[in-house]
């Protein structure tokens, strides 16, 4: 069973964003856990959860055992972070990226985010000549003025923005939690930047422990371990053309012993290597094309803060199966009916948003039409107005939308029957 969802499991997926991004669907690991090949056809219903380790296949019990629910500890618990917005945002960003590349044939259109159009490039000359028409003694004439030429200097400006849709959910302790930022050169020339992280900040409950910074190597705005490049100050300080953007990922470790709901701030700072200081500060010959570099309104540096939140919400799934064979026994033989139940409940202090339970039908079985139910109320098999479907959303898969769950929500019980082929 996969607890997927429009929730990002930031605990289990360091590459959370990748999953959201790649699938454009609810997060969760798409592939089934790898297992040794069964020696013979076996009825299994792999509980595909983000946390796979605790999942075991359902097997038939010895005949002398009384029929009873076989419990599959489908998943213990893991923090869930609402990320509908994040998914949408990433999808948008994905398409923005695509567009960005497509349109990069036209440099002036290479925009991303809230950035204004590229300012006039450093080194450009702006010339102005006026004319005066006049009439003297009936004779008209036109005369031109001198030409005033201004040189456009390089303005040093940048913007840093935290990209996560909301507080990044973490456990306590937790390792290498990714915080995503976007650095944009809002000046009018090429500039490079020194990056720094500060975690000892006031107003929060804990200090994340800085691990490393990664630079987005493939331009997808998503942290890709093994693809993106570790940052070393002074070694590979990122350089950006005017109006260009770069995603920057900061990884931190979360200390042990924190309380649910505790917040920890992570601040990223980018500073122009060309120069910074009070707006208007000029650095002769430091700009592009031999121009003067002038510090813009940003002061040549910017910082922004992202927040980790120790998540107080987890979803527990409890799966069981009852087998009834044609002879009145409990043997998993062809023709036997297997009735699965999945109990879902939330624990903790927060709300798990948009919870979706998906459960691929076991191999070598056939779904018994019309047996899907939620809390004992029948659901139609089609993907329609009710909360669930079989095969409609995903082929050969039970999908039930549970919506938002809180610890106060009653246990949600999904049931359906399959017949062994």
């Amino acid at each position: 069973m996969r607890m997927a969802t429009k929730s990002c499991n930031t605990q289990t997926f360091p590459e959370r964003d990748t999953c959201c991004e790649a699938s454009g669907r609810p997060c969760g690991r798409a592939a089934a856990p790898s297992r040794p090949a069964p020696r013979r056809p076996r009825i299994t219903n792999l509980a595909r959860s983000a946390r796979q380790a605790v999942v075991s296949p359902v097997r038939s019990r010895p005949e002398n055992n009384p029929p009873q629910a076989h419990r599959v500890d489908a998943a213990t618990s893991w923090p869930v972070r609402p990320c509908v917005e994040a998914v949408n945002r990433l999808k948008r960003r994905f398409w923005n990226c695509r567009w960005r590349y497509a349109l990069c044939l036209l440099p002036a259109l290479c925009l991303q985010g809230p950035v204004l159009a590229t300012g006039t490039g450093a080194g450009t000359s702006i010339s102005n000549t006026a004319t005066t028409d006049y009439v003297i003694a009936g004779n008209g004439s036109t005369i031109s003025s001198n030409t005033v030429t201004l040189r456009v200097d390089e303005k040093l400006d940048m913007n840093l923005a935290w990209q996560d849709a909301g507080n990044v959910s973490v456990n306590t302790p937790d390792n290498d939690r990714v915080m995503s930022y976007l650095l944009t050169n809002t000046g009018n020339g090429n500039d490079s930047y020194t990056l720094g992280v500060q975690n000892s900040l006031g107003g929060d409950q804990f200090d994340p422990v800085f691990v490393d910074i990664y630079l987005d190597a493939n331009g997808d705005g998503i942290f890709n371990p093994g693809t993106d490049i570790p940052y070393s100050a002074g070694i590979n300080d990122p350089a950006l053309d005017a109006d260009a953007s770069l995603a920057i990922f900061v990884r931190n470790t979360i200390p042990a012993g924190l309380n649910n709901g505790d917040l920890g701030d992570n601040r990223l700072t980018a500073t122009s290597r060309t120069g910074s200081g009070l707006p208007g500060t000029a650095f002769a010959n430091a700009g592009d094309n031999g121009t003067t570099a002038v510090v813009g309104t940003s002061g040549g540096t910017d910082n922004t803060t992202g927040t980790y939140a120790v998540s107080g919400t987890s979803i527990a799934l409890l799966k069981s199966v009852v087998i009834a064979d044609p002879s009145g026994g409990t043997r998993p033989v062809p023709g036997a009916t297997m009735t699965y139940s999945i109990d879902a409940s939330a624990a903790g202090t927060a709300t798990a948003s948009g919870v979706v339970i998906t459960d691929p039908l076991p191999a070598n079985t056939t779904y018994s039409a019309g047996t899907l139910s939620l809390n004992a109320a029948p659901l139609t098999d089609g993907a329609d107005a009710d909360a669930g479907d079989v095969g409609g959303t995903t082929p050969n898969t039970v999908t039930v939308y549970l919506g938002d769950l809180t610890p106060a929500s009653p246990v949600q019980t999904i049931a359906f029957e399959v017949i062994i082929n």
């Binding site: 010339s127 005066t132 201004l150």
Partner: protein
Amino acid sequence: MKTLISISTGVLLAVFSSQIMARIEVATSAEIEVTETNAQGEQTVVRTAATSVVPGTEVIYTITSKNTGAAQADHIVVTNPVPAQTVYVEDSASGHDAAITFSVDGGKTYDSAGKLTVTDANEETRAATAEDYTHVRWTFGSSLEPGQEVPVTYRARVK
């Protein structure tokens, strides 16, 4: 730096004596405003001649027409294309006793602000905005007497 250009032709010389030879000079200057802080910490905005700018800078262009001749000059019209890479700053044009009009079609036609329209790529016509202006024109309401000089001015923001 002023460039003097003498408008004088053989015909004019033949007809008029040198005393009434027409001579109009026109000079353009560019300035920017800079905030200066004095020893008392007081801030004042001063204008200074501009040689370089950055995107966002407002440039104050001043065009001064001077009659250096001995005859009255009439029908004075000063025209200035809004420089490339800049946009006209709304309501910034001024000039003593001059009617100010703008062009949005590269100087073919002029009209006062508020009467101009532009047609966009979708063939829809809308009111023109300051960003659409391609030229600024000052049409003087009075003559330029010998020795008189009249400045007109406007602001353009560097894109």
